[in-house]
Symmetry: C2
Subunit: 241 residues, 2 copies
């Protein structure tokens, strides 16, 4: 069985010789769950300074301290790709955030559409899922999860240079033209809710100047599947795969 | 909100005027949960005859009968693509089966590798997940889920004409060459367990005559993410998307 080193996200500057204080939760995880003790090593990253080897310097009941050693991996920032999605049931929303972080989205934006059931999200919980995914997948970057925003508002202020991929169930049969889109600047992928987009939303989206509509095949995909499929198509056509 | 008609999988021949008996579970779902009564309509499919409109003909406590009307959709068989995967934690295994059915795998084969923790699966439960996914995604076909088989055995008897896509974490940096593989016959995708493949397995796999190795990007993907990503790449390059 492949053994894996513990990877911990810390919200603290990192550099050789840097001392890193642990929160109570982190101490509980490292010392209570994973049974580390003073002198043991792990990997730490903070989303902006790369990955460092670290040693447990001090253990106490409510916390502890790590001491960072050498850098083991530089920061790898994913391509400038946003994922916009309409929150669905809790488990599937968590899943979308986890997958977006794993697959290299740079920013995760929950959006409220006309057919979105969910009127609120727990941003901190979703951010924690993105952090856990980065810990698991060996990432050194953690995408920021934004607060829930109305799709209307986002569309109104949409940045002119960011191309939007719009996964439209109504675009049956069209081949994914991502590879041909040629746009090398910032991108975003928009995944609709289970009920699809409203006619008003669809017509507003298609009138945006920088929109690419893609189809995800002849079967209806759930929103979480569509998110992973669209991220795959984008990463393999235009991203860092 | 888009209203959606109830779609029910039935294990019974279908055709215009065909009477379809309901199991106790199906009757509970239709009459108890969804509150249908005599005369109401729904869609039924059986994985081989396409989709039919059906009307509730009789309701009783332990069952009931549907009467099939006209065909509403012909059978759409997905491309001849197998998904082989090593079972992981329950929720993620269920997820892989659901996604494989949604994304148009023709057959789902759980395999036991050297690093597979799980020594057994509940085939009937996984098959039920595949059926539910077909009900949800508007499919008329249901992929068969096989019993757990040893990867070794499968490799020994591997059909000479079925090309195998092998998602190898060790193939870093290589671009997915699926589009160039050109093979138009039957295919299979193999997803390894969380611990990866053993050296023995990897060398055995790479010695197979009809193997294509692909990479799924610079980040380590969980097995469930890898399954969806590989199915996406295959369907968009060689399948029916």
């Amino acid at each position: 069985m492949a053994t894996s080193i513990i990877r911990l996200y810390v919200d603290h500057p990192l550099g050789p010789g840097q001392s890193v204080p642990l929160s109570g939760d982190q101490a509980h995880y490292l010392f209570g769950v994973m049974r580390l003790s003073a002198g043991d090593t792990l990997a730490v990253f903070n989303g902006c300074d790369g990955e460092y080897r670290a040693q447990v310097a001090a253990v106490d009941k409510r916390g502890g301290t790590l001491m960072a050693g050498e850098q083991t991996r530089p920061l790898q920032v994913p391509p400038d790709l946003w994922l916009l999605f309409a929150p669905i049931k809790k488990a599937r929303t968590d899943f979308i955030v986890e997958k977006a972080a794993e697959m290299g989205a740079a920013r995760i934006l929950p959006v409220q559409t006309q057919f979105t059931n969910s009127g609120r999200i727990r941003r901190d919980r979703l951010q924690a899922h993105a952090i856990e995914a980065a810990e698991q997948c060996g990432g050194t970057f953690v995408p920021h999860v934004t607060e829930l925003q109305k799709l209307d508002t986002l569309m109104r202020d949409w940045p002119a240079d960011r191309r939007l991929v719009f996964c439209d169930e109504a675009t049956a049969g069209a081949r994914a033209p991502l590879r041909d889109a040629g746009h090398r600047g910032p991108w975003a992928i928009l995944i609709g809710p289970e009920g699809g987009f409203s006619d008003v939303e669809r017509s507003r989206l298609t009138r945006l100047p920088n929109v690419t509509r893609i189809s995800l095949g002849p079967r209806i995909l759930r929103a979480d599947t569509a998110a992973v499929a669209a991220l795959t198509l984008w990463q393999s056509s235009l991203g860092d795969w």
